[in-house]
Symmetry: C2
Subunit: 489 residues, 2 copies
């Protein structure tokens, strides 16, 4: 259930100022109707991981559907005194009419591939750059991090607890949304439950314990109030000498109605690996082997992995700041680059951006993105970028090659080729339906399962192949040569 009642801020003007100066310049320089292609791609996987997770697509759709310039926006622009009145009139009558293709939310994505393509009038396609990048960069960052953390937890539930350390309200709300897509079971962020249906979870803070005359009284009050899933925070004073014994005492006092079992305890400080083992034994010995232990406090995938390696008896994790900001790698570096210009005759002239840094050279042209799956194992073998009029025939052997080291070649057989992007907009009309988040989470989980374990490693993962078709490689090579003999000026 998603209901955006309170969230309808018009973000049309959340755009870099240069998008507007350029739009105005295109308008007055004969490019009002010039149709272009832009690709979004990224260059580096956060945390040196083997893959990232696409997310934020629904918010991008919402943004594009709500694009409109209010009278206040136009007044503001007029006040800048650099935009022509004709251009402001164009914005007043603005109707979004681009085509947009995107990898679906929840799917693994890899560097260098066009995860999103926009085709349309350059004024429009340029204008939406900032929000496309902001939306997809942010949520892909958090979904990718959450997926890593959930993997480290090896099937144990992970809860998103980071609102208070998020970078702004959207950072909290949409970050929690993305974390859910990436695999988290819920969030502490209440509004994200109300708006997006991500289950909100939480029990008590230390202040609850402090307010009562004693820890025991605080636990008793809580157990009376919330007999279902009663989880007690045990580290306000001393976990093993006070918190756990008091929790056990309350569980024994049969404050919980008949038929209710104790929910669990939460440890939020100290050496959680050690404390959890001791607490587990105390709970087991007291006859509460089904009482869960939840851990929180500056966790991330590395700490969780180490805790579990050392035998921590933790049943679920609450993860805060390190997930909601992806603190070890807080930027998803997606970029948005011009890849082609369409002539009046419909022919696309490919465009390239050259750089001394090879990874910064763009791949020109209007393209398609294919994922090749092994038919017997179902595993993803490689992604191949082709020109848009190419089809990969998966009934015959297909040779892939490394676009930088072309002698590295491999012939695939018995595979299935899938054009993995979906069209979100056609001439400005939205073609997709809003999917329940639960479906996106399941989809993400299924898609990550198509990756080999070698790609999923935390350290030094196998580099998944992202190759170009021969035809696309030829176009790119030709353009690189042309520009290498000097700029085309």
């Amino acid at each position: 259930m998603e209901n955006n009642s309170e969230m309808k801020t018009n973000l049309t003007m959340l755009t870099d100022f240069y998008e507007i100066t350029m739009a105005n310049g295109y308008f007055t320089n004969g490019h009002r109707d010039t149709v272009v292609y832009f690709d979004m791609f990224f260059r580096e996987i956060p945390d040196n991981g083997g893959y990232a997770i696409m997310a934020g697509v629904q918010q991008l759709v919402d943004y594009l559907e709500n694009l409109k310039f209010t009278p206040e926006d136009l007044e503001y622009l007029r006040g800048c005194k650099i935009f022509s009145e004709e251009f402001i009139g164009y914005l007043r009558d603005f109707r979004f009419c681009c085509d947009v293709w995107s990898v679906p939310e929840g799917m693994p994505i890899f560097p260098g591939e066009p995860i999103l393509t926009v085709r349309g009038p350059v004024i429009q396609a340029q204008f939406i750059e900032t929000m496309i990048l902001l939306t997809v960069n942010h949520q892909s960052l958090i979904a990718t991090k959450a997926n890593r953390i959930c993997r480290a937890a090896q099937g144990r539930p992970v809860m998103e607890f980071g609102s208070r350390r998020a970078q702004g309200a959207d950072g909290a709300i949409l970050g929690a949304r993305a974390a859910y897509i990436g695999g988290c079971c819920g969030t502490a962020c209440t509004i994200c439950d109300r708006e997006y249906g991500v289950p909100a979870l939480g029990t008590m803070a230390h202040s609850w314990i402090q307010l009562f005359d004693s820890e025991l009284e605080a636990f008793r009050a809580y157990a009376r109030e919330y007999p279902r899933n009663c989880t007690l925070l045990v580290d306000t004073y001393n976990v093993l000498k006070s918190g756990v014994p008091h929790a056990i005492q309350v569980f024994r006092e049969e404050i919980l109605p008949r038929g209710f079992r104790p929910g669990g305890i939460r440890i939020d400080s100290g050496d959680i690996t050690y404390l959890s083992k001791k607490a587990r034994k105390m709970l087991d010995d007291a006859g509460f082997p089904d009482c869960k232990i939840c851990a929180s406090n500056s966790l991330d995938e590395y700490i969780i992995r180490d805790m579990l390696m050392q035998g921590a008896k933790v049943d679920s994790f609450g993860v805060g700041e390190r997930m909601i900001t992806s603190s070890s790698h807080p930027v998803f570096g997606g970029v948005y680059k011009l890849s082609g210009v369409e002539g009046k005759d419909g022919v696309v002239t490919p465009k390239i951006k050259i750089s001394e840094n090879v990874s910064k050279i763009t791949t020109p042209g209007f393209k398609k993105l294919w994922r090749l799956y092994d038919r017997s194992s179902g595993k993803a073998l490689a992604d191949v970028i082709t020109l848009s009029d190419e089809v990969i025939d998966d009934t015959r052997p297909y040779e892939i090659f490394d676009p930088n080291f072309v002698w590295k070649r491999k012939t695939l057989t018995n595979f299935r080729a899938e054009d993995i992007r979906v069209q979100l907009f056609q001439n400005g009309r939205c073609l997709t339906r809003k999917q329940p988040l639960k479906e996106l989470q399941s989809y993400c989980c299924e898609q990550v399962d198509t990756l080999w374990d070698e790609v999923k490693r935390f350290e030094n993962p196998h580099k998944y192949y992202v190759d170009l078709s021969q035809k696309l490689w030829d176009v790119k090579s030709r353009l690189i040569s042309e520009y290498s003999f000097g700029p085309n000026a």
Copy 2:
């Protein structure tokens, strides 16, 4: 000019779910009218800096002024099936009635001091925890980072360019606001200009150059369109062989109307230190010594400092992802802890949270925060936290001491003591007026000037003193002893 026309999202439900379960529990456990004190403080300065900058206070005020539960919120809570109907009725009639004190926006702040205090019914004071932390943590993080980056630029203008890599829309908009308080001269984020009056700046992207038949044509078109402050992006093909020569050619062609001088060039890739020196010479030789050079591309305080040390000829900087996410330290770890409970007789019982980690032990009681300035130099000497009924008499010598190493003592004379917090709310009524951002920026600059250079160092800064009054130290020591002999259960 601030006009929040489009920004009025009701964020009442942006709260951790446990704030609501606790609020409901307080309500039904006889704590409906219990008055408590909460302090916000932080433990660590980002990037090992010598100080942080307080920011986000205005957005906190906005949030508190707009606190209300809509029928949809109440329906949502009712649907959770764990809250009493009386409690939901209480929320329906909710009227914020707390007192709030805060360090003003733009002021340097230090670890361990109560930068914000809330006094009021525990249900309310607890409920607002999440948004207090989110708002102040986020903007203080970015203002602190921006202040570092601006300091590295040694007076050269720094522009905030990070929207596309921000963690959500608020990350971009309010991040740009905080960056402006911290010292940036403007932002690329247009909506932040319209909403908060932060000057929006920007010229062109590489796609502008690519769209035209040649770089030269692209430059000419831009110069015709924007003769005022015409800044050309020179690194699409080759900075020294193509970009700068073409820029000079356009400047010479007198496309700019009489009386207009070329604005500048922007270099967005490559070895900017080297390129800027070469470009400077080319521009000077061509008769454009007043043409500015702007640098961008993954900059931060360290890179800017190194560039300037090596003699880069850069007049202004555009800083993106590393400022808008504070990427080297993306979390401001402010916390919000119960510090006291007020009896019906008005007497405050101080409360403490113990931890094995000394820096995690809270400072109990209702407190005041003083800054002591040297009367001759105007420099800040130390902050002193006292109980709220204490006054520091600055007409007499005053002895300060390290609260952890009490033999470290120092007697101050000829100083001025200022109670640096302002009251934002009294019984729920807002006492402050919205200040223009420009004023907050100037205030920040003045206040940072009161710090010694030793505190402002990037590496290994002098640790600014944050001490306790003797009376407060006694209270804290007593409570620590009480809990060290076992929990009070």
